[in-house]
């Protein structure tokens, strides 16, 4: 399990105990019980927002809109339908949650087109639209909202006052458990990789867009559930209660508590609920207190309150290898069955505005060969790699991988075909251990956890990285970072591997290792395409060298021919211009 989530999981029983003890203490104190109930309601919405902000890096200042959908569904349903009270709240709440989830799905789709401040403004607009609709809708009571919402009734038990505390916390506990479960195992690892580096996640076959949309829908559903409980608890829903103010309060809870953690959301929600109730008589000072708190937390604990606590919680042990390893954890690389060329690039052109970065490039790679792509700075090598890997659209041309036309496909789909890739600047997931990085590399295989762990360890051993398994990637030495990235890229046994400048920054002995590792992969049957500036390495290991200059292929052939090609010599060393002054 990811260390960060491990600490989160370990904190939950303690927080549950606090909720239970507080609940017992609050039995004779209506103010306490009310504050505790609000804490639970806020917590449900904050958990969803925390996941959205902390795990898929999306911000939302529109959560009150989803909250309002849940609240109004309950207010409207329970006051207009003629259903037994035991049925009307659950049914209306379920409808509200579903509506909020659908709205979240829609906002999630739209959010893919926005980043940073623009996303914040777009979600803010969603919240404002919701309030506007609630405000103008005669059906929902307009500005005065819906009054006399009945308390949920289950047999002899009426959920109001003190019982509402336990009712709300039961839902909060459920939300916490479901959320923590999402953050574990394969899906949790995917969330963690997106948190660390979206592009690197995508080339491992992780559908980052889908995860973002799902996170929006999930956060929307939880906010809707919070609204549904809120309406039943308070008995009245007005547009002002679900305004931007609430969205910002939820945001504050997540920032204060620490985004990306369930415990942080619970702590933030409890803190603000207590300030809210205890500060009731100081109506105007409340905002001041919020402001001071946020400034203090941002300066003293950028990871939020839970960020401070987390460091004191012992991380759980890393997953171990089973004593009886499953058969064949490292199967031989299965080439594409149809016998087609691993990679065929045809007429690929990529323009950025007026600049032609890649100009009508075509080539085909033979299976089990190692080909290097070289060229001066700015020749378009990485752009061509990105074009093959589905990062950015092509201006013209097509890319065929093992006979499958992948032109215009998203990177995770190309990865899923069996294509691995490394980056010029080794984009590791810094907050994850070496083992977790490599485990994330196995994502596309959909192995059971036990097999995935076994495969990750086998890959680490293969590259002699096992002693570093539990080191955080951000603490690695530079040379090791490169090797871990290679391990991550080959963990799922791709049959085509694109390697971008693997030797950059390596010392002589690390470079020798790299040379051995790459040749071993080729001998296993992998097809490799390498961008590299280290000519000794390129000339020593490549069967074929292609030279790119200003986006155009100017040479293609065995290393010896390419090295002596006059055009290549001129591309690399320039040519003296006759007739100009000499020094």
């Amino acid at each position: 399990m990811i260390a960060r989530i491990g600490a989160d999981t370990r904190a939950l029983p303690v927080l549950a105990l606090v909720v239970i003890v507080f609940g017992i203490v609050a039995a004779g104190n209506p103010t306490f019980a009310q504050a505790g109930t609000y804490a639970a309601i806020y917590a449900i919405a904050a958990i969803g927002l925390s996941l959205l902000m902390g795990n898929v890096n999306q911000i939302s200042i529109g959560q009150a809109g989803f909250f309002g959908l849940g609240a109004y569904a309950v207010a409207y349903g329970t006051t207009s339908w003629t259903l037994p009270p035991a049925l009307s709240w659950p049914l209306a709440a379920a409808l509200g949650v579903a509506a909020a989830a659908l709205a979240g799905l829609a906002v999630g789709f739209i959010a893919l087109r926005f980043r940073g401040h623009y996303l914040a403004v777009a979600t803010l607009a969603f919240g404002l639209i919701c309030v506007g609709v609630f405000h103008e809708s005669a059906l929902l009571g307009g500005a005065i909202g819906i009054q006399n919402v009945p308390y949920p009734q289950f047999g002899p038990l009426t959920i109001s006052g003190y019982p509402a505390y336990w009712f709300a916390w039961a839902f909060a506990a459920l939300a916490a458990l479901v959320s923590i479960n999402l953050l574990r195992g394969r899906s949790g690892r995917a969330f963690e990789t997106i948190r660390n580096d979206e592009l690197a996640a995508e080339v491992l076959g992780i559908p980052t867009r889908r995860y973002k949309i799902v996170a929006f829908a999930y956060a929307g559903a939880l906010a809707g559930l919070a609204g549904a409980i809120y309406a039943a608890f308070l008995g009245i829903v007005v547009p002002d209660a679900v305004s931007v103010q609430l969205s910002i309060t939820l945001l504050l809870m997540v920032v204060l508590g620490g985004s990306g953690s369930v415990s942080g959301a619970l702590i933030g929600a409890a803190l603000l609920a207590i300030i809210d109730i205890s500060g009731n008589q100081f109506e105007n000072s409340r905002e001041v207190a919020y402001g001071v708190l946020v400034i203090a937390v941002v300066i003293a604990a950028p990871g939020g309150i839970f960020g401070l606590i987390r460091a004191r919680i012992n991380a759980p042990a890393a997953p171990r290898r089973s004593s009886s390893p499953p058969a064949e954890p490292h199967a031989a690389i299965a080439p594409p069955a149809n016998g087609r060329a691993p990679l065929a690039v045809s007429g690929v052109t990529k323009r950025f505005g007026g600049l032609v970065a890649v100009n009508d490039v075509s080539f085909t790679l033979e299976r089990g060969t190692l080909t290097s792509l070289i060229g001066p700075n700015g020749a378009g090598k990485t752009t061509l790699f990105n074009a093959i890997g589905g990062i950015g659209d092509l201006t013209a041309g097509s890319v065929t991988i093992a006979g499958v036309d992948v032109t215009g496909q998203q990177p995770h789909r190309i990865a899923a075909l069996g294509v691995g890739r490394t980056f010029q600047n080794a984009r590791l997931f810094g907050e994850m251990t070496v083992l977790e990085n490599v485990l994330a590399g196995t994502f596309r295989r959909r192995d059971p956890e036990r097999i995935a762990v076994e495969r990750a360890y086998a890959t680490l051993e293969r590259l002699e990285l096992a002693p570093l398994a539990n080191t955080l990637a951000r603490d690695l030495a530079f040379g090791d970072r490169r090797r871990v990235e290679l391990a991550r890229a080959i963990a799922a046994d791709p049959w085509l591997l694109l390697v971008d400048e693997p030797a950059a920054g390596l010392n002589a002995s690390e470079r020798d290792r790299l040379q051995r590792d790459l040749l071993a992969l080729r001998d296993d049957g992998m097809t490799l395409l390498l961008i590299e500036h280290d000519m000794r390495l390129v000339m020593a290991i490549s069967e074929r060298v292609m030279v790119l200059k200003f986006g155009t292929l100017i040479a293609d052939g065995p290393p010896e021919n390419v090295r002596n090609d006059p055009g290549v010599v001129a591309a690399y060393l320039g040519t003296a211009v006759p007739g100009t002054a000499t020094a």
């Binding site: 000519m535 290393p559 320039g574 002054a581």
Partner: protein
């Protein structure tokens, strides 16, 4: 010596790039730094001017000042100017404003005269002085980047790949300009991919490989040295 570097180690974060560079530039000299991609050429300039790169150890003496301890701004004040790769103009500002900002550390009383002198040297910039820098051609942008640096009255001008992306004729103009500046007494440290052309104009050159100096000598010696080509394209010397 104007610039004297001894056993310089530098890099970025965990990455070590320069592994013990020693290099000199004298007044009025044009010194080239050559080498394949990733050899550490740009990092050398960035370490001297403290842009992005971190100096780990070694010494950089410039005109009696210790540049290892000086900030980027202090280095400019001493007369050590860096024209970075990609030019880094203020693209939304006019040509005139770009030039005037170049004189930020210089004497303001002579500002107008200095700007006029730059326009005299670059007539095409004079015609475009109220255009935004973004609208200039690549060659004009490179001239503006050099002109902006000249506004600070440099003793040493460091240029990172001034010929990148320019047509051969424009490249020739840039190198003629460098020869002019040299005659006027400015020392030049030029990083270039285009080895043979640069060697035509340089007095001396250093060839970097893997963050260390692989070859050093006069431009004439190096232009005839087959090892230069072997460093760029691998293989044994033939």
């Amino acid at each position: 010596m104007l610039l004297e570097i001894r056993d310089l180690h530098a890099g970025y974060g965990a990455l070590d790039v320069l592994r013990g560079i020693s290099l000199d530039v004298d007044r009025g000299e044009l010194v080239a730094v050559l080498g394949p991609n990733g050899a550490g050429k740009s990092t050398l300039l960035r370490a001297i001017s403290h842009m992005e790169a971190d100096v780990r150890s070694g010494s950089i003496a410039f005109d009696g000042h210790d540049l290892v301890r000086a900030s980027t701004v202090a280095g400019v004040g001493f007369g050590c100017l860096h024209v970075p790769e990609g030019r880094r103009l203020f693209t939304e500002l006019t040509v005139d404003d770009n030039l005037r900002l170049g004189a930020y550390t210089a004497d303001r009383r002579t500002l107008d005269a200095d700007v006029a002198a730059i326009y005299e040297r670059f007539p095409s910039l004079a015609q475009r002085k109220s255009q935004i820098a973004f609208s200039l051609s690549g060659g004009e942008q490179q001239m503006l980047a050099i002109g902006r640096a000249l506004m600070a009255r440099p003793k040493l001008l460091m240029l990172d790949e001034p010929s990148t992306g320019l047509a051969p004729l424009i490249v020739a103009q840039i190198f003629d300009l460098l020869a002019d500046l040299k005659r006027a007494g400015t020392a030049l440290l030029v990083v270039e991919q285009n080895a043979y052309l640069t060697l035509q104009h340089a007095d001396r050159a250093y060839v970097l490989e893997g963050g260390a100096i692989a070859l050093a000598g006069t431009a004439t010696e190096l232009a005839a040295d087959p090892r230069v080509r072997a460093i760029y394209l691998g293989g044994s010397v033939t």
